[in-house]
């Protein structure tokens, strides 16, 4: 089933595209919702800041589409943060598909900011299909300065001065704070699991 890759004009589309190709997942880059009409599921990648990304999503019609869409959706990094109701990064309302808010990562003693590098997952809901084959303690590649505190919507969390939502899910909507496209075999497994989710 073809995945619609939402293009907000951000820089990391190449990384996600190549990762989908390595995983043998068919995809179509979609600047507008109309271009993803035949796609069975959607990925919202993200790099950059929340305000310009939301502006792009609003302008292209994606914000409105995603609020009523029922296809499985995977947000990556900033794309995951945009799924929530509000972001403190730019003090703006986001898509509101998952309850919760994005806050600035606390600058804890002895920790550098932002959170950059490989960190281990605490798997909270091992039976969710997105986590099939993912071991507790699996390392994923994170790069972010804002975060969603781990809540009941977290399938997995990671620890860096706070308990961070690493993987989230609410209904058909999923998100990864880390970059599965740059997280080795474990990350590729997440992408495959998403492509194979039963609707």
């Amino acid at each position: 089933m073809t995945v619609g890759l939402i293009d907000t004009g951000c820089a990391n589309l190449a990384s996600v595209r190549f990762a989908l190709e390595r995983a043998g997942i068919d995809y179509k880059v979609a600047v507008t919702p109309g271009q993803a009409g035949a796609c069975g599921r959607l990925i919202l990648p993200g790099v950059g800041a929340a305000a310009p990304a939301m502006k792009q999503l609003d302008a292209s019609g994606w914000s409105e589409q995603l609020r009523r869409d029922e296809r499985p959706l995977l947000g990556i990094c900033l794309g995951m943060q945009l799924l929530f109701e509000y972001s403190a990064e730019s003090d703006i309302a986001c898509l509101g598909l998952v309850p919760g808010e994005v806050a600035r990562l606390p600058q804890a003693d002895g920790l550098v900011w932002p959170h950059m590098g490989w960190n281990a997952l605490d798997v909270l809901q091992p039976n969710n299909a997105l986590l099939s084959g993912i071991d507790n303690g699996a390392y994923m590649y994170f790069v972010h300065g804002f975060y969603v505190p781990a809540s009941s919507f977290a399938l997995a969390s990671t620890r860096y001065g706070a308990d961070i939502s690493a993987i989230v899910n609410s209904r058909h909507v999923y998100g990864c704070q880390f970059h599965p496209e740059r997280s080795g075999e474990a990350g590729a497994r997440i992408l495959k699991n998403f492509a194979e989710l039963v609707r």
Partner: protein, 255 residues
């Protein structure tokens, strides 16, 4: 726990991976994509590609090999060399690089750091610093890709780190030139001094020769990552073995 990163650096010149000693006498060590894949398979946490001649030639790196690398590897990588503008950076990021690193162009035009951070976010802006001790003071060098052009920049290393972080750099790679290529251990004193004032991730570079050097730099200089080139390319240290050793020594490392 956030893992300490092991980062092979591939110096690129004319489309091949090369390695010199103290920045001179470069010898070819292999093909870019082949070495990238091998390092990733062995467990590298990240890769850095420095087109060491780009700044001195007045050219920029070619996105063609950047996307060739991005296609095959599934770990983050950073591209450096001759990136002088936001457009240069965008071309590399759109080709699949996760970060771009600037060195000489930042010294020539420090505002470039601000512009890159504003456009792409600090997380993809790395500043590389080549530093050597002169008259008892650590000072920054530029044009280090070409021995005939290498010269001291009029800046003290620690001052420069503070400035680029203020301007929005998201990571610092501190290459201690006196140690480069001689495999005698990282410059713990200089890296510790940098760590004390650097609030963003700090990567040690220059001097790795044996497994113990990595343990020492993580434990004593508290850096976020350790970069090395020749010991990995020449097979003197296997990344998988190195990581097992560091895990046994109690360090947080991605297996």
């Amino acid at each position: 726990m956030l893992a300490r990163r092991i980062i092979p650096c591939l110096d690129v010149k004319d489309g091949q991976v090369v390695k010199g000693v103290k920045f001179r006498n470069h010898e070819v060590v292999g093909d870019i994509v082949e070495l990238a894949r091998r390092h990733a398979d062995e467990g590298a946490d990240e890769l850095v590609f420095y087109d060491i001649a780009a700044s001195t030639r007045g050219e920029t790196v070619e996105p063609a090999w950047v996307s060739a690398v991005a296609r095959v590897i599934d770990i983050p990588f950073c591209v450096a060399g001759g990136i002088k503008s936001v457009d240069d950076a965008r071309a590399r990021l759109f080709a699949g690089a996760d970060k771009i690193s600037i060195n000489t162009p930042a010294l020539q035009n420090p505002r470039l750091v601000d512009k890159l951070a504003a456009e792409f976010g600090s997380q993809c802006v790395v500043v590389g610093i080549d530093s050597r001790e002169i008259d008892g003071e650590w000072s920054v060098h530029q044009f280090t890709g070409d021995p005939d052009k290498t010269r001291r920049a009029n800046r003290r290393t620690l001052d420069w780190i503070g400035e680029v972080v203020d301007r929005g750099a998201g990571e610092i790679v501190l290459n201690c030139m006196d140690q480069d290529g001689v495999r005698d251990g990282y410059d713990i004193e200089q890296l510790s001094a940098a760590r004390a004032l650097c609030p963003t991730p700090l990567i040690a570079s220059g001097g790795a020769g044996k497994k113990e050097d990595f343990k020492t730099v993580f434990n004593q200089a508290n850096v976020d990552g350790a970069l090395a080139a020749s010991v990995f390319h020449k097979g003197l240290i296997n990344i998988g073995n190195l990581k097992s050793y560091l895990i046994d020594e109690g360090l947080g490392i991605r297996p």
